[in-house]
């Protein structure tokens, strides 16, 4: 039994078919590789073939995915037939800094927890707040309010068997100057942390030191690389900066950037981490190639350190 279970973050956008039985005929219609990225059957088979037995879903998938399958249970069963389980789901804790919005934030978050339970997942990896642009800088009270509401969400989630993982991102209002304060204001019994290695490095943190310090809070990882850690404030705080006008990428496959993943895996070994590690390759032009590159790096560079 391995300590690490690998999952893959679903950035495929909408996949409009459950299963294409007339694959060759479909391919010949216009003879492009689009045919290879159009049904869930093949996407899940790619995952299984590359050793990603989990899939992490994103809420922007659901408006097409749920009508396509009919229910979360139907998707869960479909994935299970191909050897894949739902590990978790992404979520946004919307407007947590505003106590007048807390009731709605809690209701929306409860729905997300319930939906994840229907999918059979356990990790609700949650952006703790909206973007810095338009919201930041936060007052101390706004940081406190944000910590309060995610703790309430965490209580509900814990009752349902779900772990809330704070998923910080380099352009959010919880940012370099306040994210440790925010984390420490949350209740460790109910609120955990999903360490997105690239996002937290872009924020300006040393991910090894951060993990070593907060290892007892970190329940899962988004494993991805970056070539540009410690971005300056004027970039992190700018408008709609995740997708850059000139095509600059913030995120790369593990091993294609500059982060010390071997050092991180030494720490995983030190702290005997057990749980889901989700490879996330947002921004790639070719998710299948990125998935394969990541698997090669894990098998050949990281597994021998800790697996």
């Amino acid at each position: 039994m391995k300590n690490i279970k690998y999952s893959h973050m679903n950035h495929w956008k909408n996949i409009p078919y459950q299963r294409i039985d007339n694959f060759r005929e479909f391919y010949y219609e216009d003879k492009t590789n689009s045919a290879y990225y159009t049904d869930w059957d093949r996407i899940l088979r790619y995952q299984k073939a590359l050793g990603f037995n989990g899939i992490e879903l994103a809420p922007w998938d659901f408006p097409e995915m749920l009508p396509l399958f009919g229910s979360p249970q139907a998707f869960k069963d479909f994935a299970a037939e191909r050897g894949v389980e739902v590990s978790g789901m992404f979520h946004l804790i919307d407007k947590p800094y505003d106590r007048t919005h807390h009731k709605q934030t809690l209701e929306e978050s409860k729905k997300a927890v319930d939906l994840l339970v229907e999918f059979g997942g356990t990790q609700l990896n949650s952006a703790p707040i909206n973007n810095y642009y338009g919201v930041g800088p936060l007052s101390r009270d706004q940081i406190k309010a944000s910590a309060e509401i995610i703790t309430e969400v965490g209580k509900y989630a814990t009752d349902k068997g779900v772990q809330i993982g704070i998923h910080n991102e380099f352009f959010l209002a919880i940012n370099k100057d306040n994210h440790r304060e925010y984390l420490e204001l949350t209740d460790p019994r109910y609120v955990h942390y999903c360490l997105d290695t690239a996002q937290v490095a872009l924020l300006g943190e040393d991910i090894l030191e951060f993990y070593d310090t907060y290892h007892d809070r970190i329940c899962t990882f988004h494993l991805k690389d970056t070539a540009t850690p410690a971005l300056p404030d004027d970039i992190r705080y700018s408008r709609d900066i995740e997708i850059v006008d000139d095509g600059t990428r913030w995120f790369w496959e593990p091993g294609e950037g500059v982060l010390d993943f071997k050092g991180l895996y030494q720490l995983l070994k030190k702290h005997q981490f057990k749980g889901w590690v989700t490879v996330e390759t947002d921004g790639t032009p070719d998710l299948l190639a990125s998935m394969a590159l990541s698997r090669y790096y894990i098998d050949n560079e990281l597994d021998s350190i800790y697996s």
Partner: protein, 309 residues
């Protein structure tokens, strides 16, 4: 007849290799002069609120996106003109994005709000028309609302569209109402209940799939045509895919429902001949909404148009 091409050829919602570039401004900056190079001087732009909510303002499909990247709508129009696109002929508003839960008040509230925004934006762009998809796919509404929703849904949809007509009249812009083969309105005679100012869109491929003759529809709609779409298909809906939640992706047999123009079986030459015969002087928009390659679709479209002129 004036010819334009729709930016719906850029498939921003579904997976394909390299689709990530569609979310960055550089892709579009490269595309605009290519459109002109392919001989198109006017475009139709989809209005897609999806790109307001997730920081994807590189996709030029809302006023918000335009203001983030170009500061003002006027500067965006000037940018297009500097790249050979002389006019935004129209925009297309489709409320399907808001059919995502069991709450019809949410659907009509959001659709009504953003539909109004779309009309005001179209006017600011200097468009001649706004094409409006009147309903989400029949099967998608059914997925969320089960049974006995059609009468109330139709009534509220007509009220919403008539509300759009008032805004459009204030802004001096025409509404061109679409009727996709999967529409809730597909088999309903609702025109008598619509405001007289509302014109009809004539979409060649959608009509063919619904079993109607596009050229006959043109002749029967004289004086009521808001704009037309030059669209192509080889699809015949023998398994009633139109009733499915994702009707443009028939689950029983995968196919590219909307082919690149010229590659399907629609008699587009005859359709264009009819447009000439009825002295149609409005916009004919080329749409390749399910193309696998936008640049290839551009050139295929130009080749086809050159062949029928």
């Amino acid at each position: 007849m004036k010819i334009g091409i729709s930016l719906d050829m850029v498939n921003v919602h579904h997976q394909e290799p390299n689709r990530n570039r569609y979310e960055s401004k550089y892709y579009w900056d490269e595309l605009y002069p290519m459109i002109a190079t392919a001989g198109f001087r006017a475009v139709e732009i989809p209005f897609d609120p999806f790109w307001i909510f997730r920081g994807g303002s590189g996709v030029p499909f809302t006023k918000y996106c335009i203001e983030v990247k170009f500061e003002t709508v006027a500067k965006f129009v000037a940018h297009l003109q500097a790249n050979g696109i002389e006019k935004v002929a129209g925009i297309h508003f489709n409320p399907t994005i808001f059919m995502r839960n069991e709450n019809l008040d949410f659907y009509f509230g959001a659709s009504g709000y953003f539909g109004g925004e779309a009309i005001r934006y179209a006017a600011e762009l200097g468009c001649d028309y706004i094409a409006i998809t009147p309903t989400p796919p029949y099967g998608l509404v059914q997925h969320y609302h089960g049974q006995n929703w059609e009468a109330d849904f139709t009534k509220r949809s007509i009220e919403m569209i008539n509300g759009f007509a008032k805004i459009a009249q204030e802004k001096g812009i025409k509404i061109s109402l679409r009727n996709e083969y999967w529409s809730v309105f597909r088999n309903q005679n609702f025109y008598a209940e619509l405001d007289n100012s509302i014109l009809l869109n004539v979409d060649a491929a959608n009509l063919c799939i619904a079993g109607q003759n596009p050229s006959e529809t043109l002749k029967n709609s004289l004086g009521k045509i808001g704009n037309v779409y030059l669209t192509d298909t080889s699809f015949t809906d023998e398994n009633e895919a139109w009733k499915m939640p994702l009707p443009e992706y028939p689950q029983h047999r995968a196919t590219q429902v909307f082919k690149d123009v010229g590659l399907g079986k629609v008699d587009l030459s005859g359709f264009c001949q009819t447009l000439k015969e009825i002295n149609y002087d409005g916009w004919a928009i080329v749409s390749n909404r399910q193309t696998r390659e936008p640049m290839r679709a551009l050139l295929r479209s130009r080749q086809f148009l050159n062949g029928i002129r």
